[in-house]
Structure formats: structure tokens, C-alpha cells
């Protein structure tokens, strides 16, 4: 099939950006969107032009590197899907596919479709861990954890840190990202000693990094490739309020 790509091009954070259109012929339905971009880039290089820069690595939906707004939806309109898992069979001959970067202040643009998500790392560094040093941990089975709790923790821990939740949110809030990490560790006994401090510190860092407030529109959940539930945001809010009142 034949497709038109409208791609955001911007040389660096300070340069002006604009859409460019590229025609793609002979698109196979089995191609992934990133493979289509490979083909387009090949054409660009052949013409002596600079290829479209985009983040990607594993191309199997787990590393969280890929990040595009596809026809207005973060990671495209399919639920539970990363950009690298979008296949061209989702489109029909003659379609136009519009590709934009994550747009959010705390994710400054690097080039074209690439943004800087190091603010997420800084949020984790402020509390997204259990403070245990290497060595001296008790036997793993000394701490039984019910299967239900373990599964619940896993549901939150599945976050791949891609930032789609922020890109999809009109306030550019990172609440789902923070809630996933807080919820993962709050579901487990290991996470209890630092539970209050974790919620408070991570939210403080989130605010400082310039992410917006959550107004419960739930666009984050719809965009999340790992389908992390907004229920974790409710739990985070409860933890946060409790932590604030107990530290007062």
C-alpha cells in the first residue's frame, strides 16, 4: 500500500520545527511503523538529506525508548501498545500518518521525534527504591508475600517509563508514572519502611520538574502501553495525604 507520512522535524531544542511530508510506496502490512521509518530514512539518506531521528531500542515493547504521538495518540490508538509494536496492517492504502514527539515541558525536545525524559530518572532517584545495600539480605523465602499482593505489585511494576502518560495528559502530569512506582513498592512489605517518604519525595520532585497536576481525565491510562490502572493514582493520593498528615 501507499502511505503519506507527516513528520515533525526539528534540528534541536532551540531551532524552529515544522512538519515535512514523505511518501512511502510498497508498504507491507507486516512492517512495523519503525521499519517504515527505516525505509523513509533510507530514501532521505539517498537524497543526501538527514534522516528522521527517533528513540527506539528493543523494538519489542519493553524498553520504553520508542515514543511518538501517532495521529494524535501517544503510541497510536490501539490499547496496550508501544510505538514499536504498531504494524502497518492497522492502516489502509492512501492514509496519512502524522508523527509528532511527546510534547510536554518536562520532556525538552532533543531532535525531531526524540525528547529528553531524564526528569523521570530524577523522580526515581528521589525515592523510587527500597534502601537496601548489596549483601546481607535475608533469605528470600523468609518473607512470604501473598500471591494477590505480589500480582498487584507486578501490575504496577510493569511500567516501562516511556512517558506516554505525560504525553497524553493535557496537564502533562506524571501522576501515573509516580503512582506505578509508589504502588509497586507500597504493595509489598519491603516497601513499607519508606512508604511515606517515598510518596512525598517523588511527588515533590515531580512538581519541581514541571509536571502538571492530575485532574483525573484518565487519558494516561488509555495511552499506557502496559495498561497500568489509574486506581494506583487514587492509592498514591491516599498515601500522599496520609504521609503529609503524619509528618506534620
Amino acid at each position: 500500500m501507499k502511505l503519506t507520512l507527516k513528520v515533525w522535524r526539528q534540528k534541536n531544542a532551540t531551532a524552529a520545527g515544522r512538519f515535512e511530508s514523505y511518501e512511502a510506496n510498497d508498504v507491507s502490512p507486516d512492517m512495523s511503523l519503525l521499519e517504515l521509518l527505516d525505509v523513509v530514512n533510507e530514501q532521505l539518506v539517498n537524497k543526501g538529506e538527514e534522516p528522521v531521528a527517533f528513540d527506539h531500542d528493543c523494538r519489542e515493547g519493553i524498553c520504553g525508548a520508542c515514543s511518538m504521538v501517532i495521529n494524535g495518540h501517544a503510541h497510536g490508538s490501539d490499547r496496550g501498545t508501544t510505538t514499536c509494536q504498531v504494524h502497518m496492517r492497522r492502516f489502509t492504502n492512501g492514509d496519512t500518518v502524522v508523527l509528532e514527539p511527546w510534547r510536554a515541558k518536562p520532556f525538552p525536545l532533543v531532535r525531531d521525534l526524540m525528547v529528553d525524559r531524564s526528569s523521570f530518572d530524577r523522580i526515581i532517584a528521589s525515592g523510587g527504591f527500597v534502601s537496601v545495600n548489596t549483601g546481607g539480605a535475608p533469605d528470600a523465602n523468609a518473607l512470604p508475600i501473598g500471591k494477590v499482593d505480589a500480582d498487584h505489585a507486578f501490575d504496577a511494576a510493569a511500567c516501562i517509563g516511556c512517558g506516554a502518560c505525560v504525553a497524553a495528559c493535557k496537564n502533562a502530569s506524571a501522576m501515573l508514572f509516580v503512582a506505578a512506582k509508589v504502588g509497586h513498592l507500597a504493595s509489598l512489605p519491603q516497601g513499607q519502611p519508606e512508604r511515606d517518604a517515598r510518596a512525598v519525595n517523588m511527588i515533590m520532585t515531580m512538581d519541581r520538574e514541571g509536571f502538571g497536576a492530575c485532574t483525573n481525565t484518565y487519558d494516561c491510562e488509555a495511552a499506557c502501553p502496559k495498561e497500568i490502572s489509574v486506581d494506583f493514582i487514587g492509592a498514591l493520593n491516599r498515601d500522599y495525604r496520609k504521609a503529609l498528615s503524619s509528618t506534620r
Binding site: E35, H87, D121, F129, D139, A150
Partner: protein
């Protein structure tokens, strides 16, 4: 090049404790005066950086990805082995050690493997303490399963995302140290060279991928945890960014490269769908626990798989390896798949596939259990192929996945360049000629959490701080060489992209240095690689310049190193005149088509010494002695 493995004396089971008992210590007050450079932030790199910082060292960590959390360890699906013997089914440190040595076809160093098995149990404790959500039973204890060729259940797992959860555990430990100011993290920064001064590794040269700025970093030791080189095949299960640059540059600066021909072709990957294919995706071989592998018995059978009656199917793994069946080790399963496809029985596009069928398991255990066990894998398969594998058997085909070869290291994980340590997949240490399933995560974390911190401390205590600063001649000349190399690539201004040239290299390697190798094929491959390398320097086209984010330039640089490395890989395969593990030389096989080892002449690690562009590398050997296990012929019949 002197190869001294520096294995502690004494009985096998006491070597590691005796090392720790007699190691030299760095005074706690002095530790913060040492700066350690860690390149790569996968399981090995992240766990090492975190653990070293916890001990009090200053750490600078580097990764080319935009965040340390993206390293490709994250994609490991199946699980992590540990000799906990929780299921009470007869496992022990000895058995894990023995299985690993045997699985590696008796081409690994006994002492290292035993240490790996010893520390395996502490890894699970550590990860659970960090909050890694391993699978559990209803009683609350950890669940185990048997995995890829093991007859005991010693594999811990977290749904089909064990690598992700372990990496995020190590990443959170790393970020904690970043928050405490003990680790300085340099993301989107690629190492382009190691700086060696007076025979000691004293730092690295890196490129900031966002700005293109080249900078230098000095340290008292350099640790490489930069993964494997499967992308030499272009199509592999590795992430697109995985590359050989760090280890190859270190090799060119004096580090011996061991057994580059030992590569693992994983049996259960999704077959390529066409020429556009940019990478291959692995389906965890945990699926082989419940899935049965088969092909039609007659050539050209085009019926839908569910229309082919039981009696007309060939469950070839169960037939050829009755006691291991569908769980036969990876190298054996991969070759068996190639064999049936080569004989014209393959299924799917181009006949490059075999069925992995869950129908019996679904009948036996129910849809729900299968979904619980493999739901995310089957969903991933569905996304890629648009097929529902609860109803239609999956199609799988082998793909390059892991590389057992790597930089040679001694017992302390130090390369032949003093001060240069190598951990995880980047070293050659523990898997011999073939790696067992669920052992990569184990080795990466063993090296990073438990082995490197004491061995590096021991070395620093003896070697003392390095006096080199980034202003010295060693640094300025290395930077100059890096810049010359970059400018040379930009100056070619040919007509072919690095992507196209890389695909060509991949073709040569897959056809002639892949699952089956012959002397003639390897010699041909070496000629073709040389030719391609020549063309690279005439035909390469990198658009843009070096002073900004330039993904073409990054790819070109990695490919330039692959093009040099590939030749050594073929040469190593050529000179190893035997079949062992993942290295299958067609000239050396038994009548039944099984690998035929030659212990008399090849019971050694081949370690290559670089001698400049104009002289072939020199082959050294580290003889492998087996005092504790008997060199048996591997049989999984």
C-alpha cells in the same frame, strides 16, 4: 600477552571464600578517593555501579540509551536460575555448577562457574529485598519452574518479564546512588575508546550523543558491562543499539578477546516476515515447557496446522531426544530446527519456521492457566504476526541471541589490561561454548552485585590510585585518534547508508558463520568481509555532521567496529577445528549429526591478541583443566 587466570588454590568449593578471606581491603576512608568508570548500565553495569557506590567509591556510569533503565537486559523474558532448592527436587550448588559446565560443552573455567553457582542464591535474596515482584505461590513463597534443559526447577521468574523486573531493581539501586551523589550518570553518552597509559586503563573517551561533543573521563579503574555482539548478524534478538564497540576498542588497546566464535542461536524466535525486517523477537523458551515443537512429516504439506492429523506430524525433538524432548538445550534445538527446515519440512514464509504448539497444554491445563503463564508473550506474538496462538500454533525459527565469547578475564574479572574489568555478557567467563536458559541474568547480577565489588577492591588495594589525569598525552592522543576516525567516516560521502552495509555484513555472517560453519565457508566469509570493509570506506554515506545528534554517524561507527570484529570471529571459528556448544563445524559431527568435540586439541579458550591493522591477530590459549567434573560427551537423548 600473558594469560594468568589467577585462580585461588584449594578445593573448588572453597576457592571463592578463600579469595574473600585473603583479599586486600581498601581503607573505608580512602574509598571515596577512588573514581571508577562503569560503561553500560544493564544488569551487570547497573548492579556494579550501585554496589561500588554503596561501598564508598565515586562512580561515573555511562550508557548510550536515554536512560539506564533501557538497557537490553530488560528484554530477557524467561527467568533467573539460582541453586536455592526451594522445590526440594535435588538441586544444589554443585548441580547448578555441573549443569552449567556441561551445558557449556566443557569449555568454561571450572572455578568461575562454581563461584557463579555459589552466589546465585544471594542474588535472589538481594532482588527480593529490593522489591522485585517474583512470581509466588498461594502460600506466599517464591515459585520456581524448570527451564531450558534443566531437570530441576530452579528458575525464578516474574511473569514473562523477569529481565525487566531485575533490571528495574538494579536501576532503582543505581538511581538511589545517583540521588545520594555517589554515582554520576551520563546517559546518551557513548564510549568510543579506552585510554591506556603505562599499561593501565586510566579512562575513556566518550561522545555526547545529543551535542556531538567528545570528552574524556579519568578513573582508577574502568569497568565494561557493554553486552554482547549478536548484532554482527544484523538480524538478532538484540536491541538495535547493541554493539561491539566498547569491547572491540578495548581489544585494540590490548585486551585479549576470547572465543569470539561462541555465539548462541536461540531456537524460539518469531521468523522474519520480509526484507524490511529490522530485528527479530524472541519468544521465551519457557514456552517449550508446555509447547510441543513439530513439523509436518511430508514435504509441501500446505494444510493448516490444525488439519494435519497427529500421525502425520513429526515431533522431532521428542523423537530425537526422548529424555529432554522439547526442553533440549538451545544449541541442539536450534540445529534440529535448521535441519528439518533445510530438508524442506519448514513451515511459513520461505519454509523458515517450525510449529510451537500449545494445544495439548491448553487441553490439559485450561486456557486460563496458559494465559496466566504466557499471556504477555502470546499477546506480543499476536501483535507481530496478527495470529492467535491459543488457536493456531506459533511459528518459530532460530535467531542470534547471545554471545558467550567476549573479552578474556581472569578470576577477578580483569582483562589482560590492568585496571580494565569486564562483566556480564561482555566477558567470556562463565558459559563456555553455550549458555543455558535463565543463566544470563544470573551471571550479569552475580558479576555486578557480588563478584566485581570485592575483586575490584582487592585490585585497587594493591595497585593504588592512578595518577593519570585527562590532560596527559595518553588522553590527548586517544581523543585525536577518535576524532580522526569520526572525520574519516564523515568524509567518505559515498552513496550507501550504514544500514544497508550492515545488512550485507549480517548476510555474510548468518550464512557462513551462523548455525553451521565450514572451513571453506569461513574462508570465503573472511574474504567477503575484507571486501565489504574496503567498500565501507568508499561507499559509506553519513549525512549531517558530527556536531549534533546524528544517528547515522552512531550507526556507522558501530558498523566500522563490527566489520573488523567479524573477521576475527570467522577466524576463531575457522581455527577451532571441532564442534562444541553453539559452534558447529559441519566437518566435525557424529554419524547422527551431533556435535563432535575434540578435547585433545581444543580443550582451551582461544584468546586473541591484537597486533595492529597490518598484522593478523595472534592466537593464545588458556588451557582448561577439569579436576572436578569428568569430560563427558554431552547427551540429551
Amino acid at each position: 600477552m600473558k594469560l594468568d587466570a589467577r585462580i585461588p588454590s584449594g578445593p573448588l568449593a572453597q576457592k571463592w571464600s578463600s579469595f574473600k578471606g585473603s583479599m586486600k581491603l581498601v581503607n573505608p576512608a580512602n574509598k571515596r578517593k577512588y573514581r571508577i568508570i562503569v560503561v553500560g548500565t544493564g544488569l551487570a553495569g547497573a548492579s556494579a555501579a550501585a554496589s561500588l557506590a554503596e561501598l564508598g567509591y565515586q562512580v561515573d556510569a555511562f550508557c548510550f540509551q536515554d536512560s539506564p533503565r533501557r538497557a537490553h537486559s530488560i528484554a530477557a523474558q524467561g527467568g533467573i536460575n539460582a541453586a536455592k532448592n526451594y522445590p526440594n527436587d535435588g538441586d544444589s550448588v554443585w548441580r547448578l555448577f555441573y549443569d552449567t559446565v556441561k551445558g557449556g560443552d566443557f569449555r568454561a573455567r571450572e572455578a568461575n562457574v562454581h563461584r557463579l553457582a555459589e552466589v546465585s542464591t544471594a542474588i535472589i535474596d538481594q532482588c527480593v529485598a529490593q522489591g522485585v515482584p517474583f512470581a509466588r505461590e498461594y502460600g506466599g513463597l517464591l515459585d520456581n519452574r524448570s527451564f531450558g534443559g534443566a531437570q530441576v526447577s530452579r528458575t525464578f521468574y516474574a511473569r514473562g518479564q523477569t529481565g525487566q523486573q531485575l533490571l528495574l531493581g538494579a536501576y532503582s539501586a543505581l538511581e538511589r546512588q545517583v540521588g545520594l551523589g555517589k554515582v554520576k550518570m551520563h546517559a546518551r553518552t557513548e564510549m568510543l575508546d579506552v585510554v591506556v597509559d603505562n599499561g593501565r586503563a586510566v579512562g575513556i573517551v566518550v561522545r555526547d550523543l545529543t551535542t556531538g561533543v567528545i570528552s574524556t573521563h579519568a578513573g582508577d579503574a574502568v569497568v565494561l558491562g557493554t553486552g554482547g555482539y549478536s548484532n554482527v548478524f544484523f538480524l538478532s534478538t538484540n536491541a538495535k543499539g547493541c554493539n561491539v564497540t566498547a569491547t572491540w576498542r578495548a581489544h585494540k588497546r590490548g585486551a585479549g578477546f576470547a572465543n569470539p566464535c561462541y555465539t548462541q542461536i536461540h531456537p524460539t524466535c518469531i521468523p522474519a516476515s520480509g526484507d524490511h525486517q529490522s530485528k527479530l523477537t524472541l519468544m521465551s523458551e519457557s514456552l517449550r515447557n508446555d509447547g510441543r515443537v513439530w513439523v509436518p512429516q511430508t514435504k509441501g504439506d500446505v494444510r493448516r496446522p490444525d488439519q494435519i492429523p497427529e500421525a502425520e506430524r513429526d515431533y522431532y525433538l521428542e523423537r530425537r531426544y526422548p529424555s529432554f524432548g522439547n526442553l533440549a538445550p538451545r544449541d541442539i534445538s536450534s540445529r534440529a530446527a535448521k535441519l528439518v527446515c533445510d530438508s524442506g519440512l519448514g513451515v511459513g514464509p520461505g519454509g523458515r519456521g517450525v510449529y510451537l504448539d500449545l494445544a495439548d497444554a491448553i487441553k490439559r491445563l485450561g486456557h486460563k492457566t496458559i494465559e496466566e503463564r504466557y499471556g504477555n508473550l502470546l499477546a506480543m506474538y499476536g501483535k507481530i504476526t496478527d495470529e492467535n496462538s491459543y488457536e493456531v500454533p506459533m511459528r518459530i525459527y532460530p535467531a542470534p541471541h547471545y554471545t558467550m565469547g567476549g573479552l578474556w578475564v581472569d578470576y577477578s574479572l580483569m582483562s589482560t589490561v590492568p585496571g580494565l574489568f569486564v562483566i556480564g555478557e561482555a566477558n567470556f567467563s562463565d558459559h563456555g561454548a553455550n549458555r543455558l536458559g535463565a543463566s544470563a541474568l544470573m551471571q550479569g547480577l552475580a558479576d555486578g552485585y557480588f563478584v566485581l565489588p570485592p575483586t575490584l577492591s582487592d585490585w585497587l588495594a594493591q595497585a593504588g590510585p592512578s595518577s593519570a589525569s585527562t590532560g596527559t598525552a595518553a588522553f590527548t592522543t586517544t581523543v585525536q585518534q577518535v576524532n580522526e576516525h569520526t572525520n574519516k567516516m564523515l568524509a567518505v560521502k559515498g552513496h550507501r547508508s550504514p544500514e544497508l552495509l550492515h545488512r550485507e555484513l549480517g548476510n555474510i555472517m548468518w550464512n557462513k558463520c551462523g548455525m553451521g560453519r565450514t572451513a571453506a565457508g569461513l574462508q570465503e566469509a573472511m574474504r567477503e568481509i575484507k571486501d565489504l570493509r574496503g567498500r565501507f570506506w568508499q561507499e559509506l554515506r553519513v549525512t549531517g555532521d558530527g556536531a549534533c545528534m546524528n544517528t547515522q554517524l552512531e550507526h556507522a561507527g558501530r558498523l566500522a567496529d563490527f566489520l573488523e570484529f567479524a573477521e576475527l570471529m570467522c577466524r576463531d571459528a575457522l581455527e577451532r577445528e571441532e564442534s562444541c556448544g553453539g559452534h558447529f563445524r559441519e566437518e566435525y559431527q557424529t554419524e547422527e549429526g551431533e556435535a563432535q568435540r575434540n578435547d585433545k586439541d581444543f580443550c582451551h579458550a582461544a584468546v586473541w591478541e591484537h597486533r595492529g591493522a597490518n598484522q593478523p591477530a595472534l592466537r593464545h590459549r588458556e588451557e582448561l583443566t577439569f579436576d572436578n567434573v569428568h569430560l563427558a560427551t554431552r547427551s540429551y537423548k
